[in-house]
């Protein structure tokens, strides 16, 4: 389809348009999750969506995971205190509001422990050397904690199932740049299957000496396993680990319950997932994986945000034609034998025209390749709604920048 040439519009693809504004305006949408591989602009998209929703009248809280410094500052997130704070300079005329927070993994973990353990027990847990490592420095904890925080925020919101202690009617979450795409989805389940597993009972067995039931269950494996573990880990290490697991045992029950609740919440119709990608091979492959996984899990997918798409002012001047013109002009100028080498950049009367055409040809080559990749995605995932956001020469790090991204997101095609 060759659309008439508006200025710098995104190219059209054969996929249903994602109507972001309708999604944001729908009061039935209470949780919006942005996911995608690293470096595709998830955090910026989440912040832009939250801002747009707020300025269209929703009362929004946005949870960001690891925003770029200047973006964080523009949202008023100078300090990481794990508490949502109002964002200044949001247009509230439509009756909306925007609070933002940045996830503090360690503190979120602490809160969970404090909520489920007696003060004495919490103290013992905090003092165990494993706790420090597990709660702050080991990778992977952020997925658990992001989901925990999402559950917490929503439980305080003014939505069905929330206690209404906060005015929020929409929670927007950014997801951690996970090692494997959907770690955040797997985390709650993985945790509960682990808690029901034999290994944890085995670890707890010595701490519950006399618990005959355990001995019975484990009689066969117990000696070879604990023997193996102390050989590998050392007796001291094993003692610390057992003390840690025993200490967390009480906390785990509550933790599991919450993890399961969060999972159910994600699968409920009030949630909408947006998969964010850039028009590149790797990012689209990850996006395809997300889309398939979400579908299999029965998670409500709203659509795909295709970020940083190359646009053009002159969609009808193809790379091929522009390049032919460059060659012609440079031949006319007698400027060198190999018109393709950058070293032989144009000189002479038509140097400027040839140079501008070179830029356009390169741009169109990128654009054509991107649209080919995106087109292939659309063919393989028919029916997935999609919105394209043009590439910007500059990074976004203030509210105006977010607003302009938001405008592109909201421009229903």
């Amino acid at each position: 389809m060759s659309a008439p040439a508006p200025t710098s519009s995104t190219p059209s693809l054969d996929a249903p348009a994602l109507d972001v504004d309708a999604l944001l305006d729908d009061r039935g949408t209470s949780v919006l999750v942005c996911c995608g591989s690293g470096g595709v602009g998830k955090t910026t998209s989440a912040a832009a969506l939250a801002l747009r929703a707020a300025e269209r009248g929703r009362r929004v809280v946005v949870l960001t995971i690891d925003p770029a410094r200047r973006l964080a500052q523009s949202l008023g997130l100078e300090e990481l205190d794990n508490t949502p704070r109002p964002v200044a300079d949001v247009d509230t005329r439509a009756g909306g509001s925007l609070d933002a927070m940045m996830l503090d993994m360690k503190r979120t973990f602490d809160e969970v422990v404090e909520a489920h353990a007696s003060p004495q027990r919490a103290k013992a847990i905090f003092e165990n050397p494993f706790y420090e490592a597990m709660s702050s420095s080991f990778s992977g904890t952020s997925e658990y904690m992001a989901m925990e925080k999402l559950g917490q925020l929503r439980s305080r919101a003014s939505v069905p199932g929330g206690d209404g202690s906060e005015p929020w009617d929409l929670v927007v979450v950014d997801t951690p740049p996970s090692r494997s795409a959907l770690d955040f989805l797997d985390a709650p389940r993985r945790l509960s299957s682990f808690l029901d597993g034999r290994f944890i009972r085995l670890l707890l067995a010595p701490a519950r000496a006399g618990g005959r039931a355990y001995v019975k269950v484990l009689s066969g494996a117990v000696s070879s396993v604990t023997g193996a573990m102390s050989r590998v880990l050392g007796a001291q290490f094993l003692d610390d680990l057992q003390a840690f697991v025993a200490g967390l045992d009480a906390v785990f029950g509550g933790f599991r319950e919450r993890a399961e609740k969060t999972y159910a919440l994600l699968a409920s119709p009030g949630t909408a997932f947006l998969v964010v990608a850039t028009p590149e091979e790797d990012a689209l492959r990850e996006a395809a994986y997300f889309v398939d996984r979400l579908g299999r899990e029965g998670m409500p997918l709203a659509g795909l945000v295709l970020n940083r798409v190359q646009t053009t002012e002159l969609p009808r001047l193809s790379a091929e034609r522009a390049w032919a013109a460059v060659v012609q002009l440079e031949d006319l100028d007698g400027g060198g034998e190999d018109g393709t080498a950058p070293e032989t950049l144009s000189r002479g009367d038509h140097a400027l025209a040839a140079g501008l055409l070179r830029l356009h040809a390169a741009r169109m080559r990128r654009l054509e390749r991107e649209q080919q990749l995106a087109g292939a995605f659309a063919v393989e995932h028919p029916g997935i709604a999609l919105v394209q956001v043009p590439a910007r020469p500059k990074d976004v790090h203030d509210l105006d920048g977010l607003r302009s991204v938001a405008a592109d997101l909201g421009r229903a095609t």
């Binding site: 993985r190 396993v225 790797d282 950049l345 140097a351 400027l352 020469p393």
Partner: protein, 371 residues
């Protein structure tokens, strides 16, 4: 040039393979760790570096630890199992061996090799200890992955047989082994910049927790190799604000953890350009639009009697955006230069990186002294 460094043999016992070539930015490096923000081309850079290092008849192991099969895709081979496989060979006898490290298999192998726990290892697996270790306790993954890389860097023997070296003959401490290293160098496609410090430093945390015993001493040995002058951590970036900021943060974090920072690789440098004085002239209005139009008429893109305004304005608008991008890139370039690490540049390959593209990038890395 890198600053002079302590070149003593670390106690881990690694002899540098290959000549101390003057041309090289980091002579004597045996482990190249490649990190970068997501989307900057970290895996591509690691693969191109492995190809470059394999030239001249060398044997290079290319490891990936993120479970994404990025290497198989780049080299256009079927998904890699947890097994060392030759995926590319050079005419002069060099080869790139690939390994996708899988934490579960690495743990079982580790238990079998170091503790002779064949059966007990399976018992651990049965009760879910292996699952616990590799999925629920996330740090353990990193310990295993770095442990496997450490093993590959130090492994000796197995040369000339064309088979994987030393599965059975492998010795627990290769320090006094007179045989040649199995791999002249190892390239690790590592986790992204945001996690690299934690990933590489995980063993010092472990040794802090475990305090003593076999786990602690293994962790200490791994840290010794990672901090030795035979290891270099390279950071891949684009000339964009966020990747550059992450690179700066990453360098600082690595330095604070006493991990040896190598080069900063600036990836996907675009070659679409036109002489700056022309661009400036056009954008400032010093060169009139009519001059552009004349060229377009000459190229028959605009009819001689048509105004051609849309085309001229469109081209100038695109050039203006290009100019803004250049200015931003210039700032980012300066910020990177201020880090004081060698900058290595790689071009953007129009049409993406196919296998042939890796060779082009490898040429560029060699020309700039990274291999």
């Amino acid at each position: 040039m890198p600053e002079p460094e302590d070149r003593r043999e670390p106690r881990g016992g690694i002899a540098p393979a290959g000549p101390h070539d003057e041309r090289l930015l980091f002579p004597g490096t045996r482990l190249h760790v490649v990190t970068g923000k997501g989307g900057t081309g970290k895996t591509t850079t690691a693969a191109a570096l492995a190809v470059a290092l394999s030239r001249g008849g060398r044997r290079v192991l290319l490891c990936e630890v993120e479970d994404r099969q990025g290497i198989a895709r780049l080299f256009d081979v079927p998904p890699l199992p947890y097994e060392e496989r030759t995926i590319a060979a050079t005419a002069d006898g060099g080869e790139v061996v690939a390994l996708a490290v899988e934490p579960r298999a690495a743990l079982l192998e580790y238990l079998a090799t170091f503790y002779k726990l064949g059966r007990a290892g399976r018992a651990l697996d049965k009760v879910g200890a292996i699952d616990f270790a590799t999925t629920v306790a996330p740090g353990v993954r990193d310990v295993l992955l770095t442990g496997k890389v450490y093993e590959a860097v130090r492994r000796r023997g197995g040369r000339g047989t064309g088979r994987d070296g030393g599965d059975t003959k492998q010795r627990r401490d290769g320090a006094d082994d007179p045989r040649q290293h199995t791999f002249d160098s190892v390239v690790l496609d590592a986790p992204p910049t945001g996690r690299i410090g934690r990933f590489l430093n995980v063993n010092s945390e472990v040794s802090g927790i475990a305090r003593m015993g076999p786990v602690a001493s293994q962790a200490d040995s791994v840290m010794r190799v990672l901090r030795s002058p035979h290891t270099r951590v390279h950071l891949v970036t684009l000339l964009e604000e966020m990747p550059v900021q992450e690179t700066l943060d990453g360098v600082a974090e690595l330095q604070a953890a006493r991990l040896p920072v190598g080069a900063v690789v600036v990836n996907q440098i675009r070659s679409d350009t036109l002489p700056l004085e022309l661009l400036d002239g056009a954008l400032s209005g010093a060169v009139p639009a009519s001059a552009v139009r004349a060229g377009l008429v000459e190229a028959r893109l605009v009819r001689g009697d048509a105004p051609g305004t849309t085309l001229v304005d469109g081209l100038l608008a695109e050039a203006r955006e290009h100019d803004e991008r250049l200015a931003l890139q210039e700032q980012q370039q300066q910020a990177l230069e201020a880090v004081g690490r060698p900058l290595v540049e790689l071009p953007q390959l129009p049409g993406g990186v196919a296998h042939r593209g890796l060779e082009v990038l490898a040429d560029r890395l060699t020309a700039q002294g990274l291999a």
